[in-house]
Symmetry: C2
């Protein structure tokens, strides 16, 4: 067998071709981000020896780059929810998540996640993850204070409030600034290092799985120090190697509608190698076409008083939605619209100049709507109709078209400013992938006939997990999913 | 090994576990629809022996159920295009197909298909497929006359006419009524039967592939007469087993946005078993989330003078598009709109009553737009604005919002009729799947690292082929793709 053959993730090595095992362990884990760390801790705590392989020189993965809000609730409420005066119940949380993802949802995972959400909170705090008993009431993408609880999704927006009682479930770590990710990974890394049963190998690139003649995954080939090491994992391999937003080829193949100039957010190891290793062992993939995408037009929250329109001058979404839902819909619009504008007033624009991640340019200004409409080269009367209608209804606290909530309705006053939110003309459209290996809530990976592949587990963005589309995403769902199902996979493998 | 283990398509059988080969052949083909028939003919004509396995009691597959228009052109034009006064060139055809599918396109397949389209025409006519040197000029979903050439896609609609010169490329067989599919399959079946090198096995269910220790596909297990037969195929296996629109589980897993009450069109064998067999052998899948979907609101073509609106009273597409593009956009709208209406006048409705596949109910009528708007419970002024604007512009032969072509622009006159085009409230929304195995233009199937899986080929809806989304579909693309790439796979396997 040539080196080339060995190095393709899609071609598992046959166990009978391994003459010598360099490393022997109960459980091998690929990736030391949030999912891999939690898997390692749980596997070790269940009595297994663990070899944890990380491509980079340090732990962290994409979790350390994130804000690391964690989406938790149900079961009467987390201690923070209770302290802030919110009641939450499991059915309500489940109803909300079902509304978020509809047919795309993995209902078995949603149920397991909701039913055990408080236990996950307790596990995290048991590890030393700090949450303050306080709420951040602003409309924000992330907490820059050390406050904990915030609405991080579409809970209060139409049509979600019709399907579940709005409750905030984003839990921000008790740390100033956007430092939740680094703090979370520091705590989890300390926990890993304190466990003698876990051996961490940094700068270790996983190459391909090792499979028995019967299809059982029995180990993995890793390259450490320019040398291939054959790792025997008697209880199984857990793939926690992230998604594929950094792999242009995979993106084009699996999520072509997102291969359009968006900005990938993740770590350089998010090349989909874990997904390809799983596929090579016979795993099915799910939801590969979907990505998180965002149009981060708030802060400032005052831009929420504005309206978004397409090149027909039509609104297309209630602007009080979560930025991911808005980004998803703005991207959809651009299938049939060459421009997307955010129309605001002078106050909104003033706030925008002071603080924004958006990067949108001013596309036009006008003392009247007609003037702005002309400057934007919109069809005559189109913006006038949309904005007049919006303003008249906003005056009465109503939005019969898109049901924006009353709190964000106020007439937009002249002079008007239009920000160009068209992809490719300035604004920041970050994205990462939401598709991956098909797996059970236990982390067991499935083939195309939904049969378990013995010895193969996965968690985090290497799998298709809780979040399935940006249209229903909430901050905290991905780190929540990765840490929770990482734990499940670690436990399940250890008990095999 | 238990029977259960053997019977999962996702678990290939190991060649070393086969003690006795019941059938030996050069090439084994699964599925006797358009793709399988063409693959068998080409393989036999290249000197190979062929075993062709069909689940049903007769040939046909989904091709026989279709209208079997075939999308061909380029290269100066097919004889029919030329006879009807159309010039077409390969670059123009390629530009059009690229405009249809954008980032989703498989450019290597598009090129191969366009460059060899006239050769495919010649091959088909050489088999005896009859095309009349005539054109059908109506806006139709299919030809009910024996005329050949018609516009079957979005060629004349915005924005496609900006990106390629509009040329009709749908080739209907010379037969009265909607009988192209049965005739095409009768001709291809005769051609198969005339070739002694091809052995056809009906009522033969393919169970799983047989793979060597090195990953080469060397045969297939089929069940014939309640008994498993082990088929050795020295040159390879070609999977032409259709898509998965009849498999509710796969639909929910891979194309959840289309698992919403649409009507599957295809044959009962479209269960995705070919796709799952390929996956089991390590193949990657592509475009699994996409389906063809249609809102067949013409004939009567006069409904094209109408406008489609959502529950905000907004138009959302140029109504002179192909019915698949309209269906796709109507479905997208329903993510954020509870109703879709087609607004027409009394003449249009009269035609609709006489001839339509649509099945939409009258949702409201009105002597004035305001009256209709109220009856439909649309936001006040919303439909009035859309229809007034449309009518004023139509009067001048313009549609500045959606660029509907002048030929289909005329003011809609009172009294007005609204047809309810909402999914689930009557109208026919047919669909079938457009995702499948990743393959080369040669039919060779690829794994997740784009490496060829030796001995494995596929064609037709078991693969992701030319058509990638209903938004860019044209009638004739799927049968065109299946017959063309079926041929390529048959030739490639035979020459191995």
């Amino acid at each position: 067998m040539s080196d080339k053959d060995k190095s393709s993730p899609s071609k598992p090595l046959r166990a009978s071709d391994v003459s010598n095992w360099d490393i022997e362990t109960d459980v091998a884990i690929v990736g030391f981000g949030g999912a891999g760390a939690c898997a390692a801790i749980e596997a070790a705590d269940a009595g297994a020896s663990v070899a944890l392989f990380e491509l980079a020189s340090a732990s962290g993965g994409s979790t350390a780059l994130s804000s690391a809000e964690i989406y938790m609730g149900g079961n009467g409420g987390t201690p923070v929810q209770k302290a802030c005066g919110y009641e939450d119940d499991t059915d309500n949380m489940l109803s909300y998540l079902r509304a978020c993802f509809g047919n795309q949802a993995d209902d078995a995972k949603l149920k397991h996640y909701c039913e055990n959400s408080i236990k996950h909170y307790e596990w995290l705090t048991g590890m030393g993850v700090p949450f303050k008993m306080s709420e951040l009431k602003e409309r924000a993408i992330m907490a820059l204070t050390d406050d904990c609880l915030l609405f991080t999704g579409n809970e209060k927006a139409y049509p979600f409030y019709e399907q579940a009682k709005p409750v905030p479930r984003g839990h921000n770590l008790e740390v100033e600034g956007d430092n939740g990710g680094p703090l979370l990974m520091k705590i989890l890394t300390d926990a890993v290092e304190q466990r003698p049963a876990i051996n961490v190998h940094y700068e270790a690139r996983a190459l391909t799985l090792i499979q028995s003649d019967e299809g059982e995954v029995v180990g993995i080939v890793v390259r450490i120090n320019q040398k291939e090491q054959y790792v025997r994992a008697t209880k199984g391999v857990i793939l926690c190697a992230g998604g594929f937003c950094m792999n242009e080829d995979m993106l084009r193949q699996y999520a072509p509608q997102f291969d359009c100039g968006l900005t990938p957010i993740g770590n350089p190891g998010d090349t989909g190698s874990g997904i390809r290793m799983g596929m090579g062992a016979g795993a099915a993939v799910t939801n590969m076409h979907e990505c998180f995408v965002s149009l981060p037009y708030y802060p400032p929250s005052s831009l929420t008083y504005g309206i978004l329109v397409n090149d027909k001058g039509q609104r297309f979404i209630n602007e009080d939605c979560y930025h991911g839902r808005v980004g998803y819909n703005a991207l959809l619009q651009q299938q049939n619209s060459k421009r997307i504008y955010l129309i605001t007033d002078v106050d909104g624009y003033g706030d925008y100049e002071k603080m924004s991640y958006l990067g949108a340019q001013v596309a036009g200004t006008g003392e009247s709507i007609a003037e702005l409409e002309q400057e934007l080269e919109l069809p005559e009367g189109s913006l006038q109709h949309s904005l007049d209608t919006y303003n008249q209804n906003a005056e009465r606290g109503e939005d019969p078209l898109f049901h924006k909530s009353e709190a964000w309705l106020r007439p937009i006053q002249a002079p008007y400013v239009a920000l160009d939110c068209t992809l490719g003309r300035g604004p920041f459209y970050p994205f990462f992938t939401l598709g991956g290996l098909e797996s059970l809530p236990t982390g067991e990976v499935l083939n195309g006939d939904k049969e378990v592949i013995p010895g193969l587990y996965a968690a985090g963005r290497t799998t298709a997990g809780i979040p399935r589309t940006a249209a229903g995403y909430a901050s905290g769902m991905s780190v929540g999913d990765a840490t929770f199902f990482g734990r499940m996979a670690g436990k399940q493998a250890a008990l095999r």
